[in-house]
Amino acid sequence: MTVTESVRSALEVDKVESHLHPQGSFDVADHVVPTGREEIWRFTPLKRLRGLHADAPLTARSCKATWTEHEGVDIRVVTGDEAQSVRGVTAWAPNARFAARVLAEVPASILVDVPAEHEMAEPIFMEIEGVDLDATMGAHMTLRFGAHSRGVIVVNHTGSAAVAAVVEVVVGDGADVTVVSLQDWAGDAVHLSHHQALVGRDATYKHVAVTFGGDVVRMDCNVQYDGPGGSAELLGLYFADEGQHIEHRLFADHTAPRTKSNVLYKGALQGQGAHTVWVGNVLIRKVAEGIETFEENRNLVLSDGCHADSVPNLEIETGEIAGAGHASATARFDDEQLFYLRSRGIDDKEARRLVVHGFFNDLIRKIGVPSIEDKLMATVEAELAKNVLREDAEVGA
């Protein structure tokens, strides 16, 4: 880069030179099929995606969607022009081929419309059940929360399917919104998704990603801000078993001043070939003065043969920030912790169980949806039973 170029790019307000988040486009033709050498695809096993990243058909309906009804909240399937009118509503253009194709090609969208100032008493529970692994499908959903509204939506994915999905979340000014996405798929499912949120002025957004099931699950979770004072908390919990690939990519794009982002993802891995990827990107644009950001990823490796990638990236374009930091750690059981617990009479398996529960506990308590918290504690227990607590598990003396 020449001096002139670097001066120009320093003065540039809207466009950011970065290999981490390529410029988006709604035109599918602008997105070549990824080869796996691109920065944003380098960890993903493309061969196992059933063509979702390339040209697999996206028009099948191989998932069944059901949801709980709520007074005052409009939840429905929209098609045609109406479907197009609820797409691309988060001031974002797709940076990946699959997302551009979902917006362009998928016939219907699910729309959840929460009016301004509406406060939901109960969470919306939506069940997405995969019924056909062989018919690849695309899915689009828009969650639109009006100004000063308040609500929680929990989307639970189960069964077998190969899905490319885009979820757009519009968080109105002053709104308080929680979106929980559970990937509790059967072991053969393939799920490629992009969650894009636009957080309004002084709004509070919490996104929780929980991934246990599936063969390959990759979620890109992005946030931008529509005005100053918005706050985003991005939480994640994952548990990868033998042969599973679980990938979470976060992008907090600070597009407005005095905004906050707080990212905490915790994962455990067990079994041969279990692979997790966490990439946390934060961009603090020139306009985003006085922002605060912190991102953290922790991985607990429970057995041999696992692989955890953890990559925090922070790009800062302004010197005027309130705080910015990140942390990443990947480790096995801490021998000193186990010794301490066992020196109190607690046997090895129980000690390991306590440590893993403790590892996830603080995160689970932050979700704020009691029924989900109980369910997750039970799921962690079930995952542990596969390995750490297995009867014939090898136990140190």
């Binding site: 021998d335 020196s343 109190r344 140190g396």
Partner: protein
């Protein structure tokens, strides 16, 4: 009746230069009702003795025996030793993130007793024990040792000692880093434990200060992995006055 017998215990640790012998033959017998103080300069192997008795994996026993009421302690796993009645109050208790004190205490009590404690009396016992150690009732909702002050960590160790009620307690420099008020509170806790009867205490300390509050029956001076001298409480007074110099300085030729 319980007796901890340590005979000619030899322990080494792995270092970059190969195994290094830390304990070079330690012999001690702690009968119930007795309090033994082990004193010595830094690096004399006091803590190694404590951790070896508890079974820390870092230490390799290369010789000797440890028995509790005739049972071979060295053949037991760490948790089996605790269930057999040994307790180690650690100098540096370990943080266990996400695990609350109340969950930890209940799990430990259940493990030691082989059955879950009765809920109503247990909560009463825990609260009483925390209160006696000047710990706030909300203490039990905090994560184990996470964000605890030095004094809170030690008081938490002694709360465990009282609640788990072992046969023999090994206290590893429980007095280090405590101010005089905290030292009294912790010492009171140890004395309550002793008052329950039939308890053995092995008190490891660098300083004589704690011995004003917890009266030892025997004092052993530890130097270079061995007991260099033993005696009654008067030996502690002598150490207070003279320090460890006479044990650590090379002997001068008499004449």
């Amino acid at each position: 009746m319980s007796t901890l017998v340590i005979k000619d215990l030899k322990v080494s640790v792995d270092t970059e230069d190969g195994p290094k012998e830390i304990l070079k033959g330690v012999t001690l017998t702690i009968k119930d009702g007795e309090t033994h103080a082990i004193m010595g300069p830094n690096g004399s192997g006091k803590s190694t003795l404590a951790y070896s008795i508890a079974g820390h994996p870092k230490y390799t026993v290369t010789g000797g025996t440890v028995t509790l009421d005739g049972e071979d302690v060295l053949a037991m796993t760490v948790d089996e030793r605790a269930r057999a009645g040994l307790f180690l109050a650690m100098q540096y208790p370990v943080e266990v993130p996400g695990v609350s004190v109340s969950n930890f205490l209940r799990t430990a009590k259940t493990a030691i007793d082989g059955e879950a404690p009765k809920l109503r009396t247990w909560i009463k016992d825990v609260n009483a024990s925390l209160q006696a150690l000047d710990l706030d009732p909300t203490f039990s909702t905090r994560n184990v040792n996470e964000g605890f002050s030095g004094g809170e960590k030690k008081r938490h160790e002694i709360a465990q000692l009282e609640l788990l009620a072992p046969k023999v307690a090994v206290l590893d420099e429980t007095d280090s880093g405590l101010d005089i008020d905290a030292l009294k509170v912790v010492s009171d806790g140890v004395n309550r434990f002793k008052a329950a009867g039939d308890k053995g205490v092995l008190l490891i300390t660098h300083y004589t200060r704690i011995l004003r509050y917890i009266k030892p029956d025997f004092v052993h001076v530890f130097v270079d992995g061995r007991v260099a001298e033993q005696g009654g409480p008067e030996l502690a007074d002598q150490l207070e006055a003279e320090g460890y110099d006479k044990y650590t300085k090379p002997a001068t030729v008499a004449g």
